[in-house]
């Protein structure tokens, strides 16, 4: 219960400030390790009860957009949510499934825009100029009408594992550089336009 010494308090304060700054070095390490996935094409669509299950190919990119790989992914979305026209992408409920999750239910045709108008139920996809399927509309005489679903609602992010062993080094670098930044910060404010 002796508490911190003065030097200990200073270190704790410095550590808090460093964390408060979100860690310049550690933060950029995490940015470099960030992996973002967004759908490029859909190849499976099945209606199972109140769910639409999707199989799609996702493009894996770095934080700055460099393409690293393609992955086969699966996800499910609720038809109730899909009937709502007021759900913004960021609030759309999506269930990310395991890559080998079984695809069950009534299989739907997938067609590019206006390509399958005669079928009773199908997924009409719309591609962006770069070829990515940026949205789809579910047409199903049994349950519609459905709002367009935007592919970026299926965005997934993850962190590459190589970053974790580097974190102690990053944190040490942050602890060393943050006081310097703290000293220069008022100068930047004073001199800056």
């Amino acid at each position: 219960m002796g508490g911190f010494t003065r030097r200990g308090k200073a270190w704790v304060a410095l550590a808090f400030l460093t964390l408060g700054s979100e860690g310049c070095v550690t933060g950029h390490l995490f940015d470099a390790a960030l992996r973002r996935e967004q759908p490029v094409s859909y190849h499976d669509a099945l209606v199972d009860g109140d769910r639409l299950t999707l199989g799609y190919t996702a493009l894996v990119t770095t934080d700055s957009g460099k393409v690293l790989a393609r992955k086969e992914r699966r996800a499910a979305i609720s038809l109730t949510a899909l009937r709502r026209h007021d759900l913004p992408v960021e609030a759309f409920p999506v269930e990310h499934l395991a890559d080998d999750a079984p695809l069950t239910g009534r299989r739907l045709a997938i067609a590019a825009q206006d390509g399958e108008g005669g079928a009773p139920a199908y997924l009409e996809t719309e591609a962006a100029p770069d070829g990515r399927e940026m949205r789809f509309v579910l047409h199903d005489s049994g349950g519609g009408p459905y709002a367009p679903f935007y592919s970026n609602a299926l965005t997934r992010t993850s962190t590459a594992l190589w970053v974790y062993p580097l974190l102690p080094v990053g944190a040490a670098a942050d602890l060393a550089t943050f006081p310097i930044l703290l000293v220069f910060f008022p100068v930047v404010l004073l001199v800056g336009d």
Binding site: E22, D31, G65, V89, E90, A153, L181, D193
Partner: protein, 266 residues
Amino acid sequence: MRGSRGGVFQRMLPVLWLVVGCAAGSAPSADDRSAFRFPADTFAFANQTIMEYEIDPVTRDVSWHPKEKTPEFALRCGAMARAARQFYSVARFDPSAPAADDQTYEHLIREVLDTDPRHPPNQRVVIPGYHDLRDLSGAHASLLQAMLAGPWETYLQRGNWRMIFPFRPDQQQQVAGHLLDELARGWPPIVHVLRFPERTINHLVLVFAAEQTPAEIRFRVYDPNDAGHPVELVFDRGARIFSYSATSFFPGGPVKAYEVYDGWLY
């Protein structure tokens, strides 16, 4: 001892509140201004890059090397974005008034450029003989280029301290929301667009309009490097990231963005 420190903290609360209040910034009211117009409210000339950029059409990788002849008017993106907003907020163009001599224009332009870029005065500077900034800067390009601040204004932009720190997706979402709020108030925000520590883009632009879709917010941007066309800064609502259009110097793709010339911290 603890009590007295707590007391000091409590006494400082109003000061902290003031500081945070200032840091949050508040856009000046639109008053009688119409919306920012492209190209009318922008410069007739463009900022030049000192590098020649080569963008691989397949990989979109970008490489650069210095231009053979260094352009005279370069590294002014910050000065131009700042000045475009000053003209928008302070100048009133009167094309029906007779054109003045160079000395008068120099004086009037100086008056505009000397105003606070964050909080413009209510008084307007009347510029006779021209319809808008595009018109004026077409006729007096050399004068304006000489009067716009040098590269130091961009290098020493106060908000540059922020660029070295990481940007979280929720922060980028806040930035997008704040830009929309500013536009709704009739105030075109100036945005620092960057990739750090990469050096592929480090640029200041002025946002003047936005179109919202369920998937994205498409901000229309005046890029001082391109006098001919507006550029797009797109916010992806799903990934919560900004992307900048492909330009002659940038292959297009994700960037970080934050507002500058906003509050005393930026």
